[in-house]
Symmetry: C2
């Protein structure tokens, strides 16, 4: 058996090592275009910023190790230029020597990844317009970031954009981020990501939303001018373009291997392409979304590694299959964390999938133990059976933990009722006797059981909904510090004495700071015959949403 | 409907609040023996040590709040002395005034918790022998710990014992811990908890295992002498006894309500006792273990709260049921964390349940990102179908996260194969593209698939197993720094060239530092016809186990 693998990072490296473990006798050739196989690509921004000091640390599996330990025929600087399916061979170009040769295969695995999208903007090919995909890119950015430059513009506020922003600030560079969407970190829902946006501002990063670069111009001195769609222009020492990636599937396209509309190679659940002797794994593929069952392109390291294993398994007759990608993701931004799993609200809307949602704003651990910090957890679920469809969490501590727990719940097709019953670690420095996971489960289950109908801040803001009586059940002090316009304040503690003052012929929206007192108020009101609902996430959610209109 | 609740902490308070949310008209009486309902009992050790500075913070739900917000008739310092089932009333003694009265009920909820076990040791009633259950205890301990004393002896190395040890050290007190078992923190398996034991020693805490107190004697001065079983005696300023708790079920026993052998009140899955009008929740009950389905007593705050909700639900005709307790627990000890969920290995043995186990020793996040710290994860699973039976994790960071994830997996009856496919948060500061959860899944699945038979350090140590050829596949440098006695060193990288030197008629145990190279070696050897197995957890596991014999 001779296996040729095109691309030696994440998915390709995993496939190669797995194949060797399954078969000592197989001939395994890894053709990597770059200088290094299996480097730590997720670490590149931190190398630029100096958090990772040693470049060597990024080389997690050097060529020698792959050769000696796994007896892989690893060839770096080796670019595959063509797949000849009829002859079952690939054409290879040695980028060092210029030599061209062919390499035959029994099975081929395409693991070419995805490359940063570079739109055809005038001047984008300037040496001052950088991208960050591989070590060579990182070396360039590291050099410029440590050369005493003062200003950088980052085009694109996705994962890489945010991580680069943080790391350039660490180098003392003044950073402006330009993002076409109306929010940073587009995979998250907009209202969830606003605390991160605010936090960026507090760290001195300027964020321009709904804005894009239309031109880059090197100035007479050492600078670069970035022209924006709005007419505005920005002066900087360099720019970084990070507006997403595209599957690097041209080899497959040229070989008439089927690709999806987004350019990803179409694979079955054994990672086979339309040619059963050719597999594809990682960011170059189009995968199935585990929740919506629709085709998606989600470039993630974990799934790439799993897919590599599965391709190798299938080649050696094993039945392991890929269950689809959930889209579990996390990003750190100046000490804050945003994490998510499953579908976002906007994706649910795009797929026309029915859903309900709730928000909770608990602290990461017991409030009476020092260091407790607020976090916000959004849960999206099926409005009929309560199956969890997605979750997002933003805060300082304990964010990845909650999303990992819900990621498992989604994998097991669990419901919001299961979250009520989750039995998680509790000591005051780690969580709550009623963990945020349980809280989210309680609230969501209460909605489905009809105990606690919820309203959302968007409902409150909408014109059609102006007929609703808005009841603030917080204390007088909290109310006077700020409240939703037109709300009436009756603190929860005296609500029962003031029921007569409430309209019996009008729906009531009750709210408090985060939703807990609003829930109790809703229970009191409904049991007394009022048509009441609780504003999910309360004033905290409202404040966040209302930033939109500023 | 009139509901009387005996005990106003955790389970009792949850039941009361839930009952109110379900029924505005119910009469709800909460009879609490102590001065405060719903105090933060898990915070008490940290109040003693000063991490929680303000005593007020421990009063999470003051009486006024429960009265005003939930309209609960909360009566503190009110001890129930008798349950009269025939008349459906309880006898109450007002501990302030001495008044005695009866209170009728339609439904009664017993939430009296568990009290520290005080064995009949001579001198145990000395005012210098403390325990830590409620605020009054905490006040006493706080007073003595801040009075300039120098030495304390803690009898019992369970959760409370460990937390008190840490907090007394924070007060500058010299601490000796005496524990009857051969390990601290008995719920964990011994080899897992050894890093914590070592860490305690590094913090200056002396731990005496296999030892117990048989007498306390106040000395002439201000001191206390603790006589130990071994004949040794310890001098201290005070002692703390924390050798476990007993369900405070005497009220139920006296009323002929059925209790289990451990003293816990027997309940059905709606938390009803043998008298259908009487419920019991929290630490006073005997619950069903979710994994073994056997009766257990596990005093935990989360389950107590859930049970309180369920009892209230059932009283109002709702069908929610308790699924059993998993035993998810966490404890922090001087910055290290031990967490577990499901059954331990020793419990599996006690229940005669078949199991397999594996160990992994990864870092909490990517090694190339600063701050990565090692952790150890032990996974216990069904040897046939791979259903997860339990897990334990010990380390500095990310420990509670991994156990929470596995707690969800156990709740969903997931298998080790599901852990392989878990899609968890990954960025280098949070985890790995192959998270420790995935790694554990890979290793365990490899065992079940026969790809990677494992041996355990106990097997290596056993006499019957001395016929095994012990192969160390680490580097020469690692080998010379220390290895398992009688092992032969052939580094993985050159293993294929040295196969001829290995015995073909003898089973081979391969090991490396943590198990990964041992796995690759096992694959190479098995494919070349050798009867090889990998030592799970490698030399790291061996070093930990071999501490036993020191």
């Amino acid at each position: 058996m001779k296996i040729v693998i095109v691309g030696g990072v994440a998915g390709g490296a995993s496939a190669a090592a797995r194949a060797r473990r399954l078969d000592e006798t197989a001939e395994i050739v890894v053709l990597e275009r770059g200088h290094h196989p299996s480097f730590a690509n997720c670490g590149l921004p931190y190398y630029v910023g100096g958090k990772i000091e040693s470049r060597k640390k990024l080389l997690v599996a050097p060529v020698e190790m792959l050769r000696n330990r796994h007896r892989l025929d690893v060839r770096v600087r080796s670019q595959v230029t063509k797949i000849d399916r009829d002859r079952k061979q690939v054409h290879v170009s040695n980028l060092e020597t210029g030599d061209q040769y062919t390499e035959s295969f029994d099975k081929l695995i395409i693991a070419t990844g995805a490359s940063p999208f570079r739109p055809p903007i005038p001047g984008i090919d300037s040496s001052k317009v950088l991208e960050l995909r591989d070590l060579t890119d990182a070396d360039r950015m590291h050099a410029i970031a440590t050369s005493g430059v003062k200003r950088a513009v980052i085009v694109g506020a996705g994962f890489i954009g945010m991580e680069v922003a943080e790391n350039l600030v660490l180098r003392g560079i003044d950073v402006t981020v330009v993002e076409l969407a109306d929010q940073i970190l587009p995979p998250w829902d907009r209202e969830m990501i606003q605390p991160i946006e605010k936090h960026l501002g507090e760290q001195g990063v300027k964020v321009l939303l709904g804005e894009s670069a239309i031109g880059f111009q090197e100035s007479a001195g050492d600078g670069l001018t970035i022209q924006l769609k709005s007419g505005q222009s920005l002066d900087a020492d360099f720019a970084v373009v990070s507006i997403g990636v595209r599957p690097e599937s041209q080899l497959a396209v040229d070989a008439d291997i089927e690709c999806g509309p987004g350019g990803g190679i179409i694979v079955n659940d054994s990672m086979q392409t339309s040619d059963p002797n050719i597999y594809a794994v990682g960011d170059v593929t189009q995968v199935s979304c585990f929740v919506s069952k629709t085709p998606v392109q989600i470039p993630l390291a974990g799934p790439a590694n799993r897919q590599g294993r599965i391709a190798a398994d299938h080649i050696f007759g094993r039945s392991s299959t890929y269950r689809g990608t959930q889209g579990t993701a996390v990003v750190g931004v100046f000490g804050m964390t945003a994490a998510m799993t499953g579908l976002s609200e906007k994706l649910l809307q795009r797929h026309d999938m029915p859903y309900e949602k709730i928000y909770v704003h608990p602290s990461d651990h017991a409030g009476y133990y020092p260091g407790a910090q607020g976090l916000t957890l959004k849960l999206l679920f099926d409005p009929i059976d309560g199956v969890i469809l997605g979750a997002q969490c933003v805060g300082t501590n304990g964010v990845d933990k909650r999303i990992d727990v819900i990621a498992m719940a989604i994998q097991a097709s669990m419901t919001v009722y299961d979250l009520e019953e989750a039995e998680l670690c509790y000591a005051p420095q780690y969580g709550h006797a009623k963990d945020p996971i349980n809280m989210a489960g309680f609230v969501a289950s209460g909605v489905l059981r009809g105990d606690q109908p919820v309203l959302h801040v968007d409902d409150i803001q909408s014109k059609e909904d102006s007929e609703r009586f808005l009841l603030d059940v917080r204390s007088e002090g909290e109310f006077s510090d700020g409240h939703i316009p037109d709300a009436t304040n009756i603190p929860l503690e005296s609500l029962r004495e003031h029921l007569a003052e409430l309209p019996s012929d009008q729906p009531i929206a009750a709210y408090c700071k985060v939703g807990q007192r609003g829930y109790v108020a809703t229970r009191i009101l409904r049991q007394n015959g009022f048509d009441a609902a609780n504003v999910s996430g309360g004033y905290t959610s409202w404040m966040r949403r209302s930033l939109d209109s500023e």
